[in-house]
């Protein structure tokens, strides 16, 4: 009985010290991590809505959450470039988040994967950049496709799936198609 109390005390003490130090490290690093994520988000928005650097990007809210973004070429909200949104889908080993830019007709402008933790060497190749190139080859093939009907080649579509990572390829492709449908429905309602 005496041992049980002693062990419980030591374990509690260890847990307190370790979680305390983690809380401290977290409090130091959290603001930096958030700032970096925000900067990355902004960078990705400007990337998928090419031409919006000199214009303005407006967030469209629903129930207090950002549903999608509208990008304009001019700061006074003229010359709509298109819409941007984050599509997320369950991949092989992680929830993959992709920033997508589409023009008002639903054609994909550009995509950028924001977050993935897929199998190294297989699924992670969705972000692989070939030598002498600046854009990941796999993500580039989305440009100009009709966002609502994209499919990977194994499902009869035009998107070449990554060798050994069909699940990853399919997850990203399907999440983009699905989210585009939702967003375009919302923009139609607004415009009418």
């Amino acid at each position: 009985m005496k041992d049980v109390m002693r062990f419980a005390f030591i374990l509690t003490l260890t847990a307190a010290v370790t979680s305390g130090s983690l809380a401290y490290v977290n409090s130091v690093t959290r603001p930096r991590i958030t700032a970096r994520q925000n900067a990355e988000m902004k960078e990705a928005l400007h990337y998928v809505l090419q031409g919006s650097e000199k214009g303005i990007i407006e967030s469209v809210f629903q129930n207090g959450e950002i549903v999608f973004y509208k990008g304009y070429q001019k700061p006074d909200k003229r010359d709509l470039i298109g819409y941007a949104f984050v599509a997320s889908g369950q991949g092989y080993s992680s929830e993959i988040q992709t920033m997508v830019g589409v023009n008002p007709q639903g054609k994909i402008l550009r995509v950028r994967i924001l977050f993935q933790q897929e199998t190294p060497g297989l699924g992670t190749r969705c972000e692989e950049i070939r030598k002498n190139e600046s854009v990941p080859w796999w993500q580039r093939q989305f440009q100009g496709t009709d966002a609502q009907s994209i499919k990977v080649d194994k499902d009869g579509g035009a998107i070449e799936s990554i060798t050994g990572a069909t699940i990853t390829s399919r997850a990203i492709t399907e999440s983009i198609a699905l989210k585009t449908k939702i967003v375009l429905q919302k923009t139609d309602q607004k415009d009418n």
């Binding site: 062990f7 983690l22 970096r36 297989l122």
Partner: protein, 203 residues
């Protein structure tokens, strides 16, 4: 027990991957390219040295019956600290290593060395052991991932090895390739070791 011997034992005689056969799951999963191999090796090396040192420091205060949960708490704390600090201060490094960091918690080399070595030796030797084992692990990772990347992708560290005519053996990058590579390397080392020791015992 000499510091030099303790340092180099992780390279061959007690190599964590080929001799102790510890931490094979991350080896299988992350040896698909040399870049990943080095990343996983470096991250493991760091956590191994830190956890060995701390566990050795408090080894006399830990009751034997509850040592495992305490080791795990310390290891998980270090791994999380590395993850957070990297994400906050070295975002580029975190970008490429981030996925491996959380794998280290379940890497049994770390717990194995805490249990078998750091909890029984002083801080200096625990540090040397962590360093040697970590370097041995990193070298094994580089060896395995070199074989897999060269055969399976035709490249080494991203550089073309065979030229454009080479048709990569994709299987080597997929999971079976990891089993083939590690199995063949292990059997080769056992064969080599068997020959070596039979020469020695002839005296």
């Amino acid at each position: 027990m000499s510091p030099g011997k303790e340092l180099i034992k992780g390279f061959y005689t007690e190599n964590p991957v080929f001799r102790l056969m510890l931490g094979l799951c991350p080896v299988l999963a992350t040896s698909t390219s040399v870049n990943n191999g080095i990343g996983m090796g470096a991250a493991t090396l760091f956590v191994l040295v830190c956890s060995n040192v701390v566990i050795s420091l408090i080894r006399k205060a830990i009751p034997a019956k509850i040592r495992i949960p305490i080791f795990i708490m310390i290891i998980a704390t270090f791994v999380t600290i590395v993850d957070l600090v990297m994400a906050g201060f070295f975002p580029e490094l975190h970008e490429s290593l981030g996925i491996f960091i959380s794998l280290i918690v379940v890497n049994c080399i770390i717990l194995g060395r805490a249990e078998a070595y750091a909890s029984k030796n002083n801080v200096f030797y625990a540090f040397i052991d962590g360093l040697g084992m970590g370097l041995g692990f990193t070298l094994s990772m580089i060896l395995i991932s070199s074989i897999r990347e060269i055969l399976g992708n035709g490249t080494w560290l991203g550089l073309e090895v065979f030229g454009s005519g080479y048709n990569p053996v994709l299987l080597m990058i997929l999971s079976p390739g990891a089993f083939f590579t590690i199995g063949l390397l292990m059997s080769f080392l056992s064969w080599f070791e068997g020959r070596r020791s039979s020469c020695v015992t002839n005296f």
